[in-house]
């Protein structure tokens, strides 16, 4: 149990996918202008990451022992199809959410955070339950980063930012500052 919690906290804070490992920067920079959208993007990420983890566990258990050379390609194909299914489901179930996320749902497919999760999980030898906690932690960490970034960006909208830094420049500086702050979690629960 302690191990599972540690996996969760580690993926969420200590090795936060976005702010420490710099994975999944596309949604982090692209969909963090509004808190409401960022939250939905984060939830979509949690959903896809969890499915990825389950899929990776099954692939690792049943297919890859017989065909290890299929690892990368099977991860990519399975994840991409899963995201397409997610997109279709969301389009059907919540047109509003679909409109809000727009282009970014397909972006989750090619998101390195997703492939990164599958590969990390395989390399660290996580089983099914450990993988689930890892995915949940990674998703929560992404959501946390997205929502923090969005709330800060909404505040700085009113700021008198110099023209050279307006827009993406300020966003990247904010991302760097947040990343500096997250360095404080380094080594948590390992000493």
């Amino acid at each position: 149990m302690t191990d599972l919690l540690w996996i969760l906290v580690s993926a969420m804070l200590v090795n936060n996918f976005t702010l420490v490992l710099f994975l999944g920067l596309c949604p982090f920079l692209g969909v963090s202008a509004r808190v409401s959208t960022a939250l939905r993007m984060g939830l979509a990420n949690i959903f896809v990451l969890t499915i990825t983890s389950v899929t990776a566990s099954f692939l690792n258990a049943f297919i890859l022992p017989f065909a290890p050379y299929l690892r990368l390609i099977s991860f990519i194909v399975v994840i991409a199809s899963l995201v397409q299914i997610t997109e279709m489901a969301i389009k059907k179930l919540s047109p509003t959410l679909f409109r809000e996320l727009g282009i970014f749902l397909p972006l989750i497919t090619t998101n390195c955070a997703i492939l990164g999760l599958a590969i990390f999980q395989t390399n660290r030898g996580y089983g099914f339950v450990e993988g689930l906690f890892f995915a949940l932690g990674a998703g929560l960490g992404l959501t946390l980063a997205l929502v923090l970034m969005a709330s800060i960006r909404e505040t700085t909208e009113l700021a008198d930012v110099p023209s050279m830094a307006r827009g993406m420049g300020l966003v990247l500086i904010l991302a760097g500052s947040l990343s500096l702050a997250f360095m404080g979690f380094a080594g948590l629960f390992t000493v």
């Binding site: 800060i152 702050a181 997250f182």
Partner: protein, 358 residues
């Protein structure tokens, strides 16, 4: 307003008009102006320079314990900050003193053996990327001084974690202060020790609280003299230049949590050690209370303070780093927009907090 107010002054000569009324009102004339009607003497420069003045005991303590290097470093960090504000900032903002505070506070978080050029770069980074990039005073998200320190910690980890012992005479440099930029100086020139938190974390050695309170320990320039910091903070709180809720909630949270942890695990440091060691006092009193980067509502201030205290205990007791005050405050700075959103006061006469229309 005089033309419109002329006819209304017939009942004039009310015997005891309050002194804060304007001359026209006291003379019995009706004066029509836009709000605010009651003005205090406080202004941004006045508040900022008062904060600078309140840091005087801390600066004196720092120079007493660490010698002439402390003065040089504080001057260097302040110079870096002020020069950046002067060159890149909007004109005329030097007079409000906010750049001087940032530089001084950054200087107080440095170890005494840091080379001068690192302090200058830190001051410049604080102002440029902590403040000016957001459009100047009042618009930044993170505390500029702490952002500068986090940058220095990431860029120059070795010099930022080398803690010199007290130099033998006041005029002895505590380290290779005048090293050339990016040159490795004479690292062996000064004796190095460990901070009380480092001793506790890596060797499980405690330090007496009395020594911590007066600052007779290793550490950053301004974090060692807890009493001087508390005195300055009390003065500012009495003048209401800082929100007393923030330091009180931070210190109370740290004390309570570390006491609880001690009941469970008696080998962990108790509340007194946690309160008086490291940068907690300086952070709680001077960094966390920055008016720009802390919440405005009283409820928000409590949440913010408790969050900082909890993060400090978390990082100090279970983290990989001996000290976490800087990161705790930066993380809660990032949470402030969220706290403000959650503690938005109810508009009088309405049922629920009003959502801002975007």
């Amino acid at each position: 307003m005089s033309a419109g107010a002329r006819g209304a002054g017939r009942g004039g000569g009310a015997p005891k008009a309050p002194a804060r009324w304007s001359a026209a009102s006291r003379a019995g004339r009706l004066e029509l102006t836009a709000s605010p009607h009651i003005k205090g003497p406080d202004s941004t420069p006045r508040i900022m320079w008062t904060v600078v003045a309140s840091l005087a005991p801390v600066v004196v303590a720092a120079t007493w314990w660490f010698g002439v290097s402390a003065l040089i470093l504080l001057a260097g960090a302040t110079l870096g900050a002020v020069a950046t504000e002067r060159w890149f900032g909007p004109g005329g903002t030097l007079r409000d003193g906010s750049a001087a505070i940032t530089g001084l506070l950054l200087g107080l978080t440095l170890p005494a053996s840091v080379p001068l050029w690192v302090a200058v770069i830190g001051g410049a980074f604080s102002i440029a990327f902590g403040k000016l990039i957001f459009g100047g005073l009042g618009q930044n998200v993170f505390n500029p001084a702490l952002l500068g320190r986090a940058f220095l910690q990431a860029a120059f980890p070795t010099v930022m974690t080398t803690w010199p012992t007290r130099p033998e005479t006041w005029g002895t440099l505590a380290g290779d202060t005048f090293a050339l930029p990016f040159m490795s100086g004479d690292a062996v020139a000064a004796l190095t020790g460990a901070t009380p938190l480092g001793l506790m974390k890596f060797e499980s050695v405690g330090t007496e609280v009395a020594r911590l309170a007066v600052g007779a320990t290793g550490g950053s320039l301004g974090e060692t003299a807890a009493i001087a910091i508390l005195a300055g903070g009390a003065w500012l709180a009495a003048k209401r230049y800082l929100d007393w809720r923030i330091p009180v909630s931070i210190l109370a949270t740290v004390a309570v949590l570390s006491q609880v942890v001690r009941w469970i695990d008696p080998s962990s440091p108790g509340p007194l050690f946690m309160l008086f060691s490291g940068g907690l006092m300086l952070g709680a009193v001077y960094m966390a209370t920055d008016m720009v980067t802390s919440p405005t509502t009283p409820t928000g201030a409590w949440i913010y303070g408790v969050g900082i205290g909890a993060l400090v205990v978390l990082i100090r007791l279970w983290g990989g780093l001996p000290e976490g005050v800087m990161y705790a405050i930066l993380l809660m700075n990032a949470m402030v927009p969220f706290i403000e959103r959650a503690t938005k006061p109810r508009v009088f006469g309405t049922g629920a907090p009003v959502e801002a229309t975007s």
